[in-house]
Every structure is written in C-alpha cells, then in structure tokens.
C-alpha cells in the first residue's frame, strides 16, 4: 500500500476544482471564486509536492535497491510536470495580477495528473542500471520545467488569439454554426470529463477500499459513466484508459475556443483579459525561459548519454524530436525580430511548439520500431 499514489489522486481533484473555479470566476466576473481558486491551486501544489516527496521516501522504504528520486518513468515525470505547471502559474498570477491564464493552465495540470493516475503504471519500479545517473535527474527536471513553461506559454498564446480583435471577424452565420458546434463539443466533453471523474473515483476505491461515502459517489456516477461508455462504443471510438483523457483535453480546449468565438469581440469576458502587449510579452518571457531549460535539458541528457553509452548524440527518435522542438522555438525567437512578426503569428507558433513538445513526450512511442521511455539503448 503506497500512500503517495493516493495523495496524488486526491490532488488531481484539487487541480480540477481550481480549474473550474478559475473558469467560473472568469465567465461570471466574480472575484471571490478567483481568490478561492488561487488558494486551492496553492493547496494542490503543496499536496503535489508532498506526494512526490512521499513517493521518494516510500521507494527507499521498499528496500532491495528500489530507492530513487521519483523522476524515472512516465508516472513520475507527469506528477512533476503538473507540479511545475501549478507553481509556474502561481508565479505568473502574482507577477501579472491576472487570473485568466489559470483557465488555460490549470486544466493542463489536472489532465496531466489524471492521465498519470490511471493511464500509466503508478507502481514504484526499480531503476535499470542505465537510469542510475545524476545527469538523468538534472535532465528530467530541466526538461519538464521547460515543458511546463511551454505549456503555459501556449496557454498565453491562446489568450492572445482570443483577445486579438482580428480573430473574431466572422459572419453571423459562422457565429451561429460555431454556437451549435460548441454545444456539441461541450456535450461530448462533459461525457468524457464525467468518465474521467468516475475512473478517478474508481481508482480511488481500489486504492483505499472502505473510504466512507466513496461507494455512494461511485454508485451515483456509474449509470452516467456507463452511458458514456455505451455511446463511445456505439460511435466506435477507442476507450483505452488514457484515451478519454487526451480526448477530453482536446474537447475542452476546442469547446472553450468555440464558445468564446461565439461572443462579440467587445463582450465583457474579453475585457478581463490582460492587454495584448502584456500577453505578447508574457508569451515571449515564458518561451525564453522554456527555451533555456529545454537547452539545459537536452545538454544534460546528452552528457548522460555520453556517460552511459559513449556518445552524446545518436539521432535516436526521442532525441531527434526534442531537437525538432528546440528548432521550432529557436525559429520562434528569431521570428520576433522580423518586421510584422510579433503578436498573432508568435501566438500561433507557441501553440505549434507545444504540440511538438507533446509529440516528443507521448507521440514518439507511436513511431515505428522504437524503445520506450528510458529503455536500454545501445
């Protein structure tokens, strides 16, 4: 019985709650839920850090050489990722005094942890010899802080596109179509979210049976989740444990965007968004920060490879994809120096860059004939 996974499952809900509060505060222009959201996020970050620390401790409790810093597999790196997003976001909120970015940042932390909790193996696994290296720890930490900066940066990019008036030049018909589309997407997303909540509670129950009230919640959620499963089977969509997560993230983002496009450019919702040049500056700052950490991450990974296999670069697909990501962000930094390339185009590129980050992390395993995360090479 490991308590770290239990704590991290609970933290998932707290991040989810914070995300909902941020959204609520933004859409209904209420200050109170926003303030509450900040505290809830802080609580989630503390819980997240405690979960990671506890996992570290528990790995040593296991004996048999299992003990290691919890940064060695997908589960562990995702828990670290969500912590970094949370902390980074709180820093930005403090500095820029605006809570709207939370609407885009917190769902990422929520989905990262939800995916970790039931899409991946959360057992503490012993380290294979190649992974026993301090360079690896430095590598994972800096890569993931970098990824978190890029994640929040893409959120800021999205904000920019929303705020930018030029984006909203669409006809009334288009507006209506978008309205219908966004309702459709939200219905689907609601199903997927429900399923995630159900799966998380279920995960909870298997972790700690007999938690009072839990079985009631589960019993309540079950018919709804069952309906969701039926619909998805019927439509023929895959239903692996990880699928609803990725799918729901996608849908929620689409849903928010479509819903916002429906609104008028001078609707009050947009008034709360920070000024365009501030968002642009924020995006740039985050991308510089992320670029530095990605650079450090690639370099420490390279030094690690040189100490484990005697070569610092081997064009392995994972390496190559991190290089591609790095190139995209390098290009982005230079685009800013060309006339007319600030603002909107940079915002779009920050989203493209983050897509490359996601592919580096999740997609590479789908490529033909490769080794998975941290597998023995050479």
């Amino acid at each position: 019985m490991h308590y770290n996974t239990l704590i991290l499952s609970v933290v998932t809900f707290i991040y989810g709650l914070a995300a909902v509060l941020y959204l609520f505060s933004w859409v209904f222009h209420k200050e109170a839920p926003g303030k509450l959201a900040t505290w809830v996020t802080l609580l989630a970050c503390i819980g997240n850090a405690a979960g990671i620390a506890l996992r570290w401790y528990e790995s040593y409790q296991l004996g048999g050489g299992y003990g290691h810093a919890p940064l060695s597999n997908i589960y562990e790196s995702l828990t670290f990722f969500s912590l970094t997003i949370g902390v980074l976001y709180l820093g930005i909120e403090r500095r820029y005094g605006n809570r709207v970015i939370g609407v885009f940042a917190l769902p990422l932390a929520f989905f990262a942890l939800a995916y970790a909790s039931f899409g991946t193996n959360d057992q503490i696994q012993p380290l294979i010899p190649a992974l026993k290296s301090n360079w690896l720890i430095a590598h994972v930490i800096s890569c993931f802080i970098g990824y978190a900066a890029f994640a929040v940066g893409s959120g800021a990019g999205l904000l920019y596109l929303l705020k930018d008036k030029g984006t909203f030049n669409i006809s009334t018909l288009g507006r209506r179509l978008l309205w219908v589309l966004s309702i459709l997407i939200w219905v689907l997303a609601a199903g997927a979210l429900l399923f995630i909540v159900y799966a998380l509670f279920f995960h909870f129950q298997t972790k700690m049976s007999g938690l009072p009230g839990l079985s009631m919640v589960l019993a309540g959620l079950k018919p709804l989740a069952g309906l969701y499963i039926k619909i998805y089977r019927w439509v023929g969509l895959p239903l692996g444990a990880a699928f609803p997560n990725v799918f729901a993230t996608f849908l929620v983002v689409c849903g928010v965007i479509c819903a916002l496009f429906y609104l008028d450019a001078d609707s009050a919702v947009f008034k709360l968004l920070p000024e365009l040049n501030i968002v642009d500056e924020l995006t740039h700052q985050l991308i510089m920060f992320g670029f530095l950490l990605l650079t450090v991450g690639i370099i420490t990974g390279s030094v690690w490879a040189n100490s484990a296999w005697g070569r610092y670069w081997g064009w392995d697909p994972k390496e190559t994809w991190s290089f591609i990501t790095w190139l995209i962000y390098a290009a982005l930094l230079h685009f800013r120096m060309m006339r007319g390339w600030r603002g909107k185009r940079i915002a779009v590129l920050s989203i493209v860059g983050f897509a490359a980050v996601l592919f580096t992390y999740f997609g590479v395993n789908l490529l033909p004939g490769l080794h998975s995360y941290g597998a023995m090479k050479g």
Binding site: I128, A308, G310, P368
Partner: protein, 474 residues
C-alpha cells in the same frame, strides 16, 4: 569598368545581406526541423535487405539515392547545417561592428527628449536643494551603474547612467557556441571511432567492431574480462552489471578497473563502457533438465500467489485444495501449436475432481499458463541449471577527441542564453530641475530587452531616490 565594379559590388552586397538575414535563419531552422522528422519515421541504419522488403525495389532505389536510410549524415542534411553556420557567421560579423561601437563607446549619447517622452517615466518632488540632490543621487547611481555622469541641463542637472553593455555579447556567445559544437562534432566524426566488442569471462581481445560498418578495428591495447557479474531485482530486472576489466599493453597489465553502466574506463583517450551482457550459450539451452525449480501457483478464485520449490517427478500439493501437480518432463526446445516457445517444463495437474490435465510451462514466458483458464495458474520463476553458465560482457568502445569542444559549446550556449534572456543593457536618466523651493525629479530609462523587468527596476529606483530625498531633507 567603374560600372562593372559597382555591379559586382551590388551583387556581393546582396549576397552578403542574403546570408546575414534572419529570414534565411528561420527558413533553415524550420527546414531542419521538418526534414529531421523523416529520420524518425523511417528507422535509420537498418540492413538494406530490411528496407528492400519494406519499400519494394523502386522506392528503395530512390530512397537509397537520397540517403534517406542514413539521412542525418547525408549530403543534403549536412549542407543545410553548413548553410546555418554560414548564416550565423555572416550575421555575427555583420552586427558585431554596431555592437562593438555601443560597447566601447566612451561617451554614449543620451537623447534627453526621448527619455522625457517615455510613458514609463516616474516623477516626484522634493524640498531638497538641487545641488545636494545632484550629489546624493549621483553617489547612489554610480554605486549601481558602471557608467555614470552629470550634465547641466537648463537650470538643473541630468544624471545619465548605464550598465550591462557587455550583455549584448550574450547572443554572440549563443551563436558562436553552435559553431563550436559543430566543429567538435566534426572533429569527433573525422578522428574518432565508435565500436563494440563482446568478451567472454576470462578472455582477452584487442579487436573491436565498428558501428555501422561492422569492420574490425584494432585497439592499441587489449582488454581482458576477468569476471562478469550481474545482480537482479526481485522483479527480475537487472539491477547492476559489472565487469572486472584489465587493460594489457604488450601483454603487461596497465590498468585494472571495474566498469558498471554510467561509470566507464577512460584510458589514453579511449573510453570503455559497460553496455550489455549475455550468456555464452545464448538461446541454446542446456540439454539437461534443471535440477530444482521454483514454481508459483496463482489461485484464480482468491488471486493469491503461492511459491513452491520442487524437483522433477516430485508431487506438489496445490494450495487452497486445488489438487496435485507433478513436473514430469523437460523439453529444451518446446513447441506449442507450431510455435517455438523455448525451453519448457511439462507437468500434470490433477484437480480434486475431474481428469488430470497436461500443462506446459515455458521458462521464458511466465504468463503462458494463464491461457489455459484453469482454477490455478502455474509459472516457473526460477530454474537452476546444472552447469554454471558463462557470461560474456558487452562493451562499447569509443574515442572522440571532439567531446571537449562540444562540452565547451554546451557551457557557452547555456551561459549565453542566460545572459541574453535575463540580463539587459539598461540606460537611465535622472533629471533634476528646480521647482519652487525644492526640485522636481524625473526618472526614466530604457533597456534593450525585458521591458517589463526594466519597468519594475525603474519604479524601484524612483521609489528609492524619493525616499533618500525625503530623508536627506530631515
């Protein structure tokens, strides 16, 4: 003649500005990114036969000609990288002059009107007289800024100050680091090698096989593997493998060291890494059956797993009253429905009621028996072989004289990025004009980057100065 020169001049100038342009940079960077994807979709450096089978004769020929199977070393990929280097060099030379002028300027010009017009300017008033004010502020500013000077303006003074000129060089550090890195990589690929060798315990060799070509390569010394040892976790995953190596020169031992993964031997510029291991008999199992083995019985009803040690033809009571089990045979190369499943034990399971069933337990596939869907799932976790099996150690042997340069490039790149991203060349103007009985003060400034940071710094400075003026008055 003259005209001709001009045309050549124009031509050269436009060529120069082409190579200095950032437009070219983004095109090259994004092209590199896009083309790099190919090599992640098509596995690199496999055997030609595999490619031939996968793509058919025509596509194979086309891709072969384009070096798709070894694309990161292909002429077109390398040309793009060279183009990037030329771009970096030309661009740096192009700008270095301007930057140099700014950095080495003894009398930087501050256009006061520009500073007065800035939105970010901060103003405050004080009862202090202009002279004291000037000296106090000048002292304060010269502590914080490397360059600081006072001029008389109208009836008052302007203190101009700046710092961090040199941070403008950070970006040159980043760009130059890429050139250094690539030179390091070039040195490595021209003068280094990368190979592997398998050495059985107790044997020595001085010949390795090169990566990619597979050609034999003679080392200036021989490597002897005295002993190899591997430890496992409870899960069966390897925990550590360690080779006791001795390096021999002319038959004489010169170095004695254990290598484990992540802790190589480095000797005379050659590195020896522990990379893999294996059993000498490999997949060919011993013909003799194991003397003793450990089995696990998982009850389908309770999910409990029981582990029991036994020998051949020994009757085992299956826990939870699920019957008896006897291992009655061993097949070195067993088959199941036409599939080779490697060495396996065969046994008979007799449930309390019902007929005895025969069961196959492959040593390599512990989950195999789950397919039977019986009341108990049996697996072999450990089978003691009568002979002690001999291991070989798999070593990676490399020499890369370029690594120093590459690491220097790494450090330069990180430092350059830190300077570029988080530091700035800041210029500040504090203007003091008499106002009534005291002074009115303007604090304004600008930075070449990080405007938000500059804004915060200015506010802090103005706040500090206002405080000093108030205290100085009392």
């Amino acid at each position: 003649m003259n005209k001709n020169q001009q045309i050549t001049g124009n031509y050269l100038a436009s060529l120069w500005s082409f190579f200095a342009s950032i437009r070219l940079t983004v095109v090259v960077l994004l092209s590199l990114a896009a083309l790099s994807i190919i090599g992640t979709l098509i596995p690199q450096n496999e055997s030609p036969a595999q490619y031939f089978n996968a793509f058919g004769p025509f596509l194979y020929r086309v891709m072969e000609i384009l070096d798709i199977f070894d694309m990161y070393r292909s002429w077109w990929f390398q040309s793009l990288i060279i183009l990037l280097v030329v771009n970096i060099l030309v661009c740096s030379i192009d700008r270095l002059q301007t930057t140099g002028k700014i950095i080495f300027d003894r009398n930087p010009k501050f256009n006061l009107d520009n500073y007065r017009r800035r939105k970010s300017r901060q103003d405050f008033r004080s009862r202090m007289d202009p002279e004291t004010c000037k000296t106090t502020f000048h002292q304060r500013l010269s502590r914080q800024f490397g360059y600081c000077r006072v001029e008389s303006v109208r009836q008052g003074y302007a203190i101009t100050a700046e710092k961090g000129r040199w941070t403008r060089l950070g970006v040159y550090g980043v760009h130059f680091s890429i050139v250094v890195l690539l030179i390091g990589a070039l040195v490595g690929s021209m003068t280094g090698f990368e190979g592997y060798v398998n050495i059985p315990e107790g044997e020595a060799t001085d010949t390795i096989h090169l990566r990619f070509s597979g050609l034999p390569f003679k080392l200036p010394f021989a490597i002897r593997c005295e002993d190899f040892d591997v430890q496992f976790y409870k899960t069966g995953a390897p925990r550590e493998f360690r080779s006791k190596l001795v390096l021999l020169e002319g038959g004489q031992p010169v170095l004695n060291k254990d290598v484990i993964v992540n802790d190589p031997i480095r000797y005379k510029g050659i590195n020896i890494f522990q990379s893999s291991y294996g059993k000498l008999d490999g997949d060919n199992p011993a013909a003799a059956p194991p003397k003793e083995f450990e089995l696990t019985f998982k009850s389908a009803a309770s999910g409990m797993i029981y582990s029991i040690k036994a020998g051949l033809n020994q009757t085992i009571e299956v826990p939870e009253g699920l019957g008896t089990f006897v291992v009655d045979g061993f097949k070195p190369a067993a088959q199941f429905q036409g599939m080779a499943i490697g060495p396996a034990l065969t046994g008979t399971l007799t449930p309390p009621q019902g007929k005895p069933q025969s069961v196959v337990l492959p040593l390599k596939f512990p989950k195999f028996d789950a397919m039977r869907r019986g009341t108990v799932i049996i697996a072999v976790v450990h089978a003691e072989n009568p002979q002690h099996s001999r291991y070989y150690t798999g070593l990676q042997v490399t020499r890369d004289p370029g690594v120093g340069l590459v690491y220097f490039g790494f450090v330069l790149m990180i430092l350059g990025c830190m300077v570029t991203f988080f530091m700035a060349h800041q210029q500040v103007v504090v203007e003091i004009q008499p106002h009534g009985k005291g002074v009115s003060v303007m604090v304004s400034g600008r930075a070449n980057r990080n405007k938000v940071g500059m804004q915060n710094d200015l506010e802090r400075l103005a706040h500090k100065l206002a405080e000093m003026a108030r205290e100085g008055k009392e």
